[in-house]
Subunit: 308 residues, 2 copies
Amino acid sequence: MADDVVVALDVGGTGIKCALVDSAGRVRHGERHPTAPQRGPDAVVTTILDLSADLADTAGRTGLRPRAVGVVVPGIVDEASGVAVWSANVGFRDVPLRELVGKRLGVPAALGHDVRAGGLAEARLGAGRGYRHVLVVPIGTGIAAAHVVDGQVFTGAHGAAGELGHIVVRPGGPPCGCGLRGCLEAVASAAAVARRYAERAEDAAGADRVAALAASGDPVAAAVWHEAIDALADGLLTGLALFDPEALVVGGGLAEAGDALLDPLGRALRARLTFHREPALFRAALGDGAGVLGAALIAQDALNRECA
Amino acid sequence: MADDVVVALDVGGTGIKCALVDSAGRVRHGERHPTAPQRGPDAVVTTILDLSADLADTAGRTGLRPRAVGVVVPGIVDEASGVAVWSANVGFRDVPLRELVGKRLGVPAALGHDVRAGGLAEARLGAGRGYRHVLVVPIGTGIAAAHVVDGQVFTGAHGAAGELGHIVVRPGGPPCGCGLRGCLEAVASAAAVARRYAERAEDAAGADRVAALAASGDPVAAAVWHEAIDALADGLLTGLALFDPEALVVGGGLAEAGDALLDPLGRALRARLTFHREPALFRAALGDGAGVLGAALIAQDALNRECA
């Protein structure tokens, strides 16, 4: 129905993106609110429930029918049971968010993982549209991957699949927050690029500026940028060997560099292919709206299952 | 039905394992025949079709009803279209085996990939029985992986998923047959263990004897064996980060070493876990009969789809 919408929330460490999305994937209404996690997890849960109810009211007032609700959160999420198992930056521990938000709104509900839901949106509605096997790799503070086949994303047995940022590409390399050394994330995340540049240049610059400096001939920036691209090519090659996707979608902060990332990354990846089939390589199309669209998609899926 | 069976063939470079398997997964009749690939791919196809027909006749003569047929082959297999795309050791190039064997027998047919089908059998009937998310890793001449979720195995977009043997665990390490350097397979396959021992000891020994020599204190064998185990732990850790399985099943020639492999491998893997959830670690249970049981399972699945 054109007037049916789902209520969608993407809960991050800083902000909560909210939307009413119709069944064609169009955002009919959008809002942003602070998460303020320092208030503690109970307060954040209350905010999520209140915002969901407000959005449903907004829908009703504007002639839209809220038919389902989807919430995505970071950390470890058990999609099957609808529980936010653990999230450092929001403070959740075993919060049954799906049940809570479904009860509050009285409609079918879904809980998802922010990266996997964003990947689902990129695969179904964004850069991966039209492909059946898509690997979506957001490269920001961390690096993760969502493996989407036929519009479904893999969660793994414990909701922890797709940790592409923590495959070791440089044995004995720089320490990673996870406790290992030489993880892809420790060399090639946007945060790692900025940190590695700061260490060597004794100057601060975000990953986008490091890319620009590298393009303008700065040797330190060029070294940091190309080390990141080489590591990404090595990590993505492992992704190709294991997942064999048709399309590879690169997003997150590092992809803001655009062709300065995609062109050399595509070349580095092609240079490494042996038996691997070359996937189509794209920059993510949905930007930081992917998560909330993913929340809408899992809500829509929950509604479809209910109606089936 | 107790008297319904499927015709199952596992075609390898050396031999063809054949079986009649009932719906409970019991082998009611088994045969082995030479592949003789030097005769050329057309002759091998004729042998496969003739053997399938003979097996169906054998079933009929012994009061069994052949309801479907499943064939698994090595190389690159497009399960969706039923085509053996490429197989070096059998000589196939774009052979529509599913259609050929289905027509010959007049029953539903399935074509599968030997490693993925063997992994499916281990997950459903073997060591992974009772687990929903299973990663099956045969370690023989090469190393591969079958990722099985809810009894279905992932093929990838081009039938090339699961190439765990070709993730680079030792950058700049020994050359691999695939053209890269430092692939897991180049350090830790049964063939690599034998080759690396021969290079250093100037003496020939299979991987199982290298394991025995390592256990008895031979320093060269111990070095080769532990390098293989360390590389396996590194490669499997990447598998855990990306797939997040509940159960990890290790098979193939190297697993013949039993606890001499599983005990140190489990320790090495546990020592590397950080955020990863520890999976149950098992030795494969079906031995070299996994492939033909997998052929039976995909035949049974094809029959179930036909009857649905």
